[in-house]
């Protein structure tokens, strides 16, 4: 005698942005299948950009109409709440500008399957005029879709699926660099193996938590924590393994090893996408898990995250000092920034208002950091050697004389990374540190002193970090140019736009942070659905 299974309800309106992206991705696949080669790009580009823009428009509409759903959509699988919407908006903007970068000629290989230097590669190169694989576009869209879903996932299964949907296309994209194929492929393989490895941990952790809580939906888990014994090793181990998967994605120590290699090997636009979009998505997911899922476990997880955050900041900033490859250096810098973000994550616990404050800080940080990052990578794509981008730092010597504007812009981005006042980066850093100290000064927080200590660690780390950003500036401006310096490629409209936008945001937010802060504030004030 079995009751009739009623059909699941899907809130199409709230989920529309996701659906658009995934739909566009599928159409992209069809295009690859049926459209003639010469047409593909001219179809893909508008399709991709339009879908991203459309999704963003929808996000705006939802926020402006102010009817932010207070319950999880799709049978409690996806939570489209304030923070999610903000994160979605950020991701969509970032991926939009990244796509503008991707449009540029000469980033992607003509035929990934072909052996470098072999006849059929040349043959392939002959056909495509620098565009390379047009599959890139649908892949990117899928990845973006995953990114959107990841922080919005309301149960661990959905989160796992989202994680994979986000990662798998990226694995492939990493391997598609037109130049330096070997590096690119190596990066792709490492990323894939390690990513799969870590997601296995994530999954096993999920399994154990399921075993503990009997459900994988985050609120369910939290409820179970509230009632059940929070010291159950099953739970703790499960949570630890879950953490591995998440921390791997944001590249926190000791799970940061993949970042430098992958960032260096991948095609720069993809690196930009990973460094901005993926990080935002992953941090969003972390926040959701810790606040929604493990809200009642903060007594256990905060000390651990304390250690991770400290380690990450130190490792990132110290290792970056001696880097000679600019993309590697930026990779380490992004590790350090992940550490700073974790400092903020530390503060997302306890009272709702406290949580909202910290959430605001992190969201703000994500937005400004992401856009600055994209800008910085966009600049990288323009400094070229015969063999591709001039990655080695020594090649950047004296660039300030040969391309004052470009290096000036880059210098400004670096200062923003370093968190010098009157750049967006400073306020980002200030926001998270303030959040941390604020949580520390809350009455009855036994970790007050610890928070202050962590902030001091962060401060020291950012002082160290400042060194290597400044080092690049020294190279560019204070040292004489090399005889055969790299060429400065004439930037395409797209790249110009990217750099301009990022610069505008970095400066604008640096002068008047309230513009973004206000939005982040509203987004955060309606907390994660619990």
């Amino acid at each position: 005698m079995n009751p009739a299974i009623e059909a699941p309800t899907i809130e199409y309106g709230t989920l529309a942005p996701l659906l658009i992206i995934f739909g566009a991705a599928c159409i992209g696949v069809l295009v690859e299948a049926f459209a003639p080669r010469y047409l593909r790009k001219s179809i893909h580009v508008p399709l991709t950009l339009l879908s991203l823009a459309g999704a963003f428009a929808l996000v705006l509409v939802q926020t402006v109409r102010g009817q932010i759903s207070t319950t999880a959509s799709a049978m409690g699988a996806v939570a489209v709440d304030g923070p999610s919407l903000f994160i979605w908006g950020v991701i969509l903007v970032l991926s939009f500008v990244c796509v503008l970068l991707i449009n540029d000629e000469g980033h992607f290989v003509a035929s990934a399957a072909a052996v470098p230097g072999s006849a059929d590669e040349e043959e392939a190169e002959a056909h495509d005029n620098g565009t390379g694989h047009t599959e890139v576009y649908p892949l990117v869209l899928f990845a973006v879709g995953g990114m959107l879903l990841f922080p919005a996932a309301h149960d661990l299964l959905m989160m796992f699926v989202a994680l994979e949907v986000m990662s798998l296309p990226l694995y492939l994209l990493c391997g598609l660099a037109r130049r330096r194929r070997l590096l690119s492929q190596e990066a792709s393989m490492k990323y894939f193996l390690l990513g799969a490895f870590s997601s296995a941990f994530f999954l096993y952790g999920t399994a154990m938590i399921y075993g503990f809580a009997g459900t994988v939906s985050l609120p369910g888990i939290n409820k179970a924590l509230a009632s059940g014994n929070t010291l159950d090793p099953l739970l703790l181990i499960g949570f630890a393994l879950l953490g591995v998967g998440l921390l791997f994605k944001i590249g926190a120590a000791p799970f940061q090893a993949w970042k430098p290699d992958v960032y260096q090997g991948a095609p720069t636009p993809i690196t930009a996408l990973m460094a901005s979009g993926t990080l935002v998505a992953a941090v969003g997911a972390v926040l959701r898990v810790f606040w929604v899922g493990l809200g009642n476990l903060d007594w256990e997880w905060r000390p651990v995250i304390w250690g991770v955050a400290a380690l990450t900041m130190i490792v990132g900033s110290i290792l970056a000092i001696t880097q000679t490859e600019i993309k590697r250096m930026l990779a380490y810098s992004s590790i350090a920034h992940a550490g700073f973000l974790l400092v903020g994550v530390m503060a997302t616990y306890g009272s709702a208002q406290q949580n909202a404050g910290s959430l605001k800080a992190i969201l703000f940080y994500l937005a400004v950091y992401g856009i600055t990052t994209v800008g910085a990578f966009a600049v990288l794509t323009l400094v070229r050697d015969p063999g591709g981008e001039a990655g080695h730092l020594s090649r950047w010597a004296g660039l300030g004389k040969r391309a004052p504007v470009l290096s000036g812009v880059f210098a400004f981005f670096l200062l923003a990374f370093a968190g010098i006042p009157l750049t967006s980066g400073f306020f980002g850093k200030y926001a998270v540190f303030a959040a941390a100290l604020n949580s520390g000064t809350q009455p009855g927080d036994s970790m007050g002193g610890w928070m202050a200590g962590l902030v001091v660690v962060g401060v020291v780390a950012s002082a160290i970090a400042a060194f290597f950003y400044v080092r690049v500036i020294v190279l560019m401006f204070f040292s004489e140019p090399a005889a055969d310096g790299p060429a400065i490629a004439a930037p395409s409209m797209g790249t110009v736009a990217v750099i301009a936008v990022s610069l505008l945001v970095t400066v604008g937010v640096g002068l008047y942070p309230e513009s973004v802060l206000g939005v982040a504030n509203d987004a955060a004030s309606s907390l994660f659905i619990r």
Partner: protein, 98 residues
């Protein structure tokens, strides 16, 4: 009595992890990852039995699908790298370091 299954899944997971750490051949490493995923499946199913709802079993299906997709992507990557390097050893690919 479900604990035996859990132990087994634990063992499988450990074997898989160790395999990733010690085996050189990319394919094998990848298989080990798959093994870990299947260990997860086993755990899910067992737990679903234990807690007495079907979610775990459903999850197992999802995991299989995801694993399949992973296989597709993974093999593609490994094959290309094998073609260029004429070797599937993960240790040979270490141009990117320090």
């Amino acid at each position: 009595m479900t604990t035996h299954y859990l132990v087994l899944s634990g063992i499988l997971f450990a074997i898989g992890a160790l395999g990733v750490l010690i085996r050189r051949n990319a394919i094998v490493v990848f298989m080990c990852v798959e093994l870990m995923l299947n260990a997860c499946n086993l755990a899910f199913v067992t737990f679903s039995r234990q807690v007495g709802n079907l979610e775990g079993q459903i999850i197992a299906f999802f995991v299989m699908v995801v694993a399949a997709a992973e296989v597709v992507v993974g093999l593609a990557i490994i094959v290309t790298i094998f073609r260029t390097r004429r070797s599937a050893s993960v240790d040979d690919a270490n141009l990117l370091k320090y």
